[in-house]
């Protein structure tokens, strides 16, 4: 028995469990708030466990695509030929890493939302729907379903932010949703064009990838539509200058949504660039990657610079996300093995550390109802654990060795230097700016004399500790021993067309 057999159902389950949970929650009466929480916690645990399994069971030396599952959906109808639309789920090294990220963040977010009282049933329904979309996108090997899940992941955000958010939530929610959907519009056009141009009558991604490589998708076509795909996905990845939903959206979003959004959803964008950009249109990628590199560098420096003078803690993280996703884009744009691997590492790393940051911000905001740094000071006295957790997240953010941020950024820098030394230098400079804004936050919020106003702040609850502890474990794991990650990622990256070693 080969490894693959039977494993596809694990992938399916990982995607389906959140959906089943959402459906179950529909049936639970809204007044049973504790039941809602228990169901969600169990779902989170299952999903997390399954995703860990997927990550662990992925065989580095095995075939590129593992744990496949194929169900024919629609075929041999009208323009659809054989395998027209199939529910084709599988993982490769990149998506197994992303699955792990999603599982951990999903569980952490589910626990972190325990405190929600107001219509928590609806909240969790939307939350699990969103996560099903995220998992689905990571696992989809079919363009139709890729896009399907991509949209599914964006859809619930409006309500999640609009109903449970804070601080200009309507504006933030509307802007975020519209910009993200605006991005997916471009992808959509790209999907049509690709299907038409390939003329294979199938949305099967491997076949389309093959078409992209053997020239069935003509170079002109690829050069025309690559920017569309990349900008479309790039909006979700906070590609400069399409990033402005990030600060505002994160500012408005409730804790768990910020965690999942910054932690996982933004990665969908970068993942899309790999799947629909690099893999689908290698010629276009070769032609346009310098441009992406420039935008990535601008984003990295710009985000870090703008974060330097923000006062709202979430805004700082919002801008720092722009900066860090800028690194991801740079890593992808290097088109060499180390750089692209670094980009995926950074996707994971930024996911967990940002989730941790937002978890921490949420923990204090729930009590203090303000996130303005100037309001705080000396919080360490009352919330030492909070400070430690936040510090770890912050230091990971800064790219401190021993934490995941360094591992990822380091690979990206190395990759970038191979082709674009000047940009690499600028990126490293941006990393130094990160120290600037992070330490500024530490200095203002954690340290200094404490205002008596905050004397009754409570430290992290047990659930928040659990949630944060998982994230910290991931951060440290990748920061200290990154071989499990790089092995998986590079096994997939090696096979990306156009990626040099």
């Amino acid at each position: 028995m080969t490894f693959d057999e039977g494993q596809g159902y694990v992938v399916l389950a990982t995607m389906a469990v959140p959906l089943v949970a959402a459906f179950l929650l529909v049936l639970v009466p809204g007044t049973q708030k504790m039941w809602v929480r228990y169901i969600s916690a169990v779902t989170g645990a299952i999903v997390c466990g399954l995703s860990i399994y997927i990550f662990a069971a992925y065989q580095v030396d095995g075939s590129h695509t593992q744990m496949t599952l194929r169900w024919v959906w629609v075929e041999n109808t009208a323009f659809l030929g054989k395998d027209g639309v199939t529910l084709y789920l599988a993982v490769d090294g990149i998506s197994s890493t992303m699955a792990l990220l999603t599982g951990v963040v999903a569980f952490a977010g589910a626990i972190a939302s325990w405190k929600i009282e107001y219509r928590n049933k609806d909240f969790y329904i939307l939350y699990w729907t969103l996560l099903a979309g995220v998992f689905g996108t990571f696992f989809s090997y079919d363009l139709f379903f890729f896009f399907f899940f991509y949209e599914l992941a964006v859809m619930p955000l409006y309500l999640l932010i609009g109903v449970w958010g804070s601080t200009r939530k309507e504006y933030g929610a509307a802007k975020l949703t519209l910009m993200l959907v605006g991005g997916s519009v471009l992808i959509w056009i790209g999907v049509f064009a690709t299907f038409h141009e390939a003329n294979l009558g199938t949305f099967d991604l491997p076949k389309l990838w093959a078409a992209g490589q053997d020239g069935t998708l003509s170079p002109t076509f690829q050069k025309t539509f690559f920017p569309m795909m990349v900008i479309g996905c790039g909006v979700l990845a906070a590609l400069w200058p399409f990033h402005t939903w990030s600060p505002d959206g994160h500012m408005s979003a409730p804790t768990a949504v910020s965690m999942v959004h910054a932690g996982v959803l933004m990665k969908l964008g970068a993942f899309g660039i790999i799947r629909l950009g690099i893999q689908l249109m290698p010629e276009g990628a070769a032609f346009w990657m310098p441009g992406l590199m420039v935008l990535g560098v601008i984003g990295a420096v710009y985000g870090a610079t703008a974060a330097l003078t923000q006062r709202d803690m979430k805004l700082i993280s919002g801008y720092s996300s722009v900066s860090h996703m800028g690194y991801v884009l740079m890593g992808l744009a290097t088109m060499n093995q180390i750089g692209v691997t670094g980009a995926v590492l950074q996707m994971f790393s930024h996911g967990v550390m940002t989730a941790l940051v937002f978890l921490m911000i949420g923990a204090i905001y729930d009590q203090a109802h303000t996130r303005d740094m100037k309001d705080f000071g000396g919080v360490t006295r009352v919330m030492p654990l909070w400070v430690i957790f936040y510090t770890i997240a912050g230091l990971a953010n800064v790219g401190l060795p021993g934490f995941s941020g360094f591992t990822a950024e380091f690979h990206i820098f190395v990759g970038t230097f191979k082709t674009y030394p000047v940009f690499g230098g600028m990126a490293i400079f941006a990393a130094a700016l990160a120290a600037g804004y992070m330490l500024r936050l530490f200095a203002i919020v954690f340290f200094g004399p404490m205002s008596p106003r905050w004397s009754d702040l409570k430290d992290l609850t047990a659930l928040e500790r659990l949630s944060g502890g998982m994230l910290i474990a991931s951060i440290v794991m990748m920061g200290v021993w990154w071989a499990p990650f790089t092995d998986r990622i590079s096994s997939a990256v090696t096979l990306l067309p156009g990626v040099t070693s």
């Binding site: 519209l178 990033h243 703008a306 330097l308 200095a443 004399p449």
Partner: protein, 633 residues
């Protein structure tokens, strides 16, 4: 235990860090004994490593032990240790000083809040520093380098309730971080050229001329930038004096003896690469000289004991860089070691004073303390003599070596400049000692309550005092041999690159050194001996402007403040404004509003009147027909 297991030196304190930080709080006395045990173990292990190293049969060679860390395609990353005499020297210095500081802290930090946390971070610091010096590749160097920086940040900011401590911690971290940008760039540039992070392989590649000159120069300069940041060389020196906000034992450990010498260590480690790059050594020399001179001047006018020592530290690091610039890593390492001992001594001594006087560190309020604190006073006196370069204390020998090496490499002008720095060193050291320990007390109230510290604090002082007094003698062949180094200590240090070389006293230089020390001491004594304040203000009277400038440290801080405020933060405000108003409000919201506005205008086409609607239909028909005739007809 063999030298291959030297990684245990770092692993043990790291383990204790975890132990203390998780479980230290409820432990009796915050688990401070674990600190001593942890570093003590490392200290003992150091001797095992040393013995194993010396016992290696045949030619004494470096010991390498590495494991594969990660693979990306054909990029194999290995992590491992590399033990050579430089490493072992650093082992000795770090473990010794760290142990002393740990012991000292038990007394000094008693009763402080977060007592356990202090010890925890000290362990982490020791672990990182030890890892730094035994790393066989630049990546690991960088990792430990940053961890050291974080520990420094945590320790400087230990009294986080004080704004000034927080600010100092932030400043230290960010300033060094700026240097680290260079370091990382340099590391990656070297990697790009050689395809490896392994230090020895890089050195071989550089020596084999595989890297272009200009490229190599840029790379090593970038790395040197990191070294300057960490070792607080001008213009990155500003963080070190501020770092004195940390608890004094920390100042002794981190900001005098170990962490700040990481830059020196790394430059020494990579000196063969520097040597290949034309001009790199000259830059190192100039930076070292400038630092030694400028900080010498700055130290002249300081009144805070620890600040004086801080500037002195920066200056002495300058000396070490000068030695490196002269292409002589062994001399630099020698000075590094002696300096570590006597500077740790001085700092701990000042800590003892501060502790005894209830946190008074202004010279203006002290005086005559020798009587009250005989042990502290005596050891401090020894340390001062070593710093001032008085024969036969440790500092004399190492400085003398630097002068010799400098003369060989760059000639007289450099020696003269460095000599001036040495004179000033002697001057401010003497001034510091006289004003603190001699004369009459300037503040009776403080004086009344002063008492000698307990043995847990004076013990380390005595131990370090002995080292400060005698450690210089190892320079003599015979001494080295006597304490167990086959072939003498020089042969040990000068392994590989320079070949066996016997130290010989150059009496000319020695006389010069002695002369400089004497001049400095005499001048200070002339100004500050006795209780007359008339002479002590001679400079301030002669040129208030110059004095002010010295006191304000050549306005470096103000300059930086302005540059950061106006430059970086200003730019950040511009970017934030741009993001808010141009990208967001105009670009994103603007397009949304434009769409909405278009809808708002277009909807008025819908007038509700049938004739208008019919008109639209008719127009549509006519338009289509005409267009059709024109297009197709």
């Amino acid at each position: 235990m063999g030298a291959e297991q030297a990684w245990l030196l770092a692993a043990i304190p790291a383990g204790f860090f975890l132990l203390l930080s998780f479980f230290g709080r409820p432990m009796p006395r915050g688990g401070d004994y674990f600190g001593v045990i942890s570093i003590g173990t490392s200290f003992v292990l150091f001797f095992f490593v040393l013995a194993d190293f010396l016992d290696t049969p045949g030619k004494v060679g470096p010991i390498v032990n590495s494991i594969e860390w990660s693979n990306i395609g054909d990029f194999h990353l290995r992590m491992g240790i590399y033990i050579d005499p430089i490493t072992i020297t650093m082992f000795g210095v770090v473990t010794t000083v760290a142990l002393m500081v740990n012991i000292f802290s038990i007394g000094y930090m008693k009763g402080e809040p977060r007592y356990y946390w202090f010890f925890a971070v000290l362990q982490m610091f020791a672990a990182s520093m030890l890892m730094l010096v035994m790393a066989d590749n630049l990546l690991l160097v960088y990792i430990s380098w940053e961890l050291v920086g974080v520990c420094s940040f945590l320790l400087i900011g230990f009294y986080w309730e004080k704004r000034s401590a927080t600010e100092a911690a932030k400043k230290a971290f960010i300033t060094t971080r700026v240097g680290d940008v260079g370091l990382l760039i340099g590391i990656i540039l070297l990697f790009k050229a050689t395809g490896t992070f392994n230090i020895q392989e890089i050195i071989h590649a550089a020596e084999a001329g595989e890297i272009g000159q200009a490229y190599l120069f840029i790379a090593v300069m970038a790395i040197f930038l990191g070294c300057m940041g960490k070792s607080a060389q001008v213009p990155f020196h500003v963080w070190l004096p501020d770092a004195m906000e940390g608890p004094t034992p920390v100042s002794a450990l981190i900001h005098a003896a170990t962490m700040v010498v990481a830059g020196v260590y790394l430059t020494a480690r990579l000196l063969p690469v520097f040597a290949v790059a034309d001009g790199a050594l000259l830059v190192v020399t100039i930076v070292g000289l400038t630092t030694a001179l400028l900080t010498g001047f700055m130290a002249l006018a300081q009144t805070d004991i620890k600040k004086v020592l801080a500037y002195s530290t920066v200056g002495q690091l300058g000396f070490m860089f000068v030695a490196l610039g002269a292409g002589n890593p062994s001399v630099a390492m020698f000075h590094l070691a002696t300096h570590a001992f006597f500077k740790a001594l001085l700092f701990l001594g000042s800590g003892s004073v501060i502790h005894a006087t209830h946190h008074n560190q202004e010279m203006d309020k002290l005086g005559g303390l020798w009587k009250k604190m005989p042990i502290t006073g005596t050891t401090f006196f020894v340390g001062s003599l070593a710093l001032a370069g008085v024969i036969p204390f440790a500092g004399f020998w190492s400085k003398d070596e630097i002068f010799v090496a400098l003369n060989e490499a760059w000639g007289g002008w450099a020696v003269l400049l460095l000599g001036l720095a040495a004179v000033m060193t002697a001057f401010y050291t003497t001034r510091l000692f006289i004003r603190t320990f001699m004369g009459k007390p300037k503040d009776e109230h403080v004086y009344e309550h002063t008492h000698e510290s307990g043995f847990v604090m004076t013990g380390p002082l005595i131990f370090l005092g002995i080292l400060a007094a005698v450690s210089g003698f190892v320079v003599f062949h015979g001494v080295g041999k006597a304490i167990g180094f086959p072939g003498g200590i020089t042969e040990f240090i000068f392994l590989e690159h320079h070949g066996p070389h016997r130290y010989e006293m150059d009496w000319g230089f020695a006389a010069g050194s002695i002369g400089m020390a004497t001049v400095g001491i005499w001048a200070a004594a002339w100004m500050y001996w006795g209780n007359s304040t008339r002479r002590s203000t001679v400079l301030a009277e002669w040129s208030p402007g110059l004095y002010d400038m010295l006191q304000k440290k050549f306005y470096f801080d103000e300059l930086y403040q302005a540059a950061i405020d106006r430059g970086v933060l200003g730019f950040s405000y511009v970017v934030a404004w741009f993001d808010r108003y141009v990208v967001n409000d105009t670009g994103v919201d603007g397009s949304a509003q434009a769409t909405g506005f278009a809808g708002g205008v277009l909807k008025y086409l819908q007038t509700g009147r049938v004739p208008n609607y019919a008109m639209a239909i008719a127009l549509g028909v006519a338009g289509l027909a005409v267009a059709g005739l024109v297009v197709r007809g």
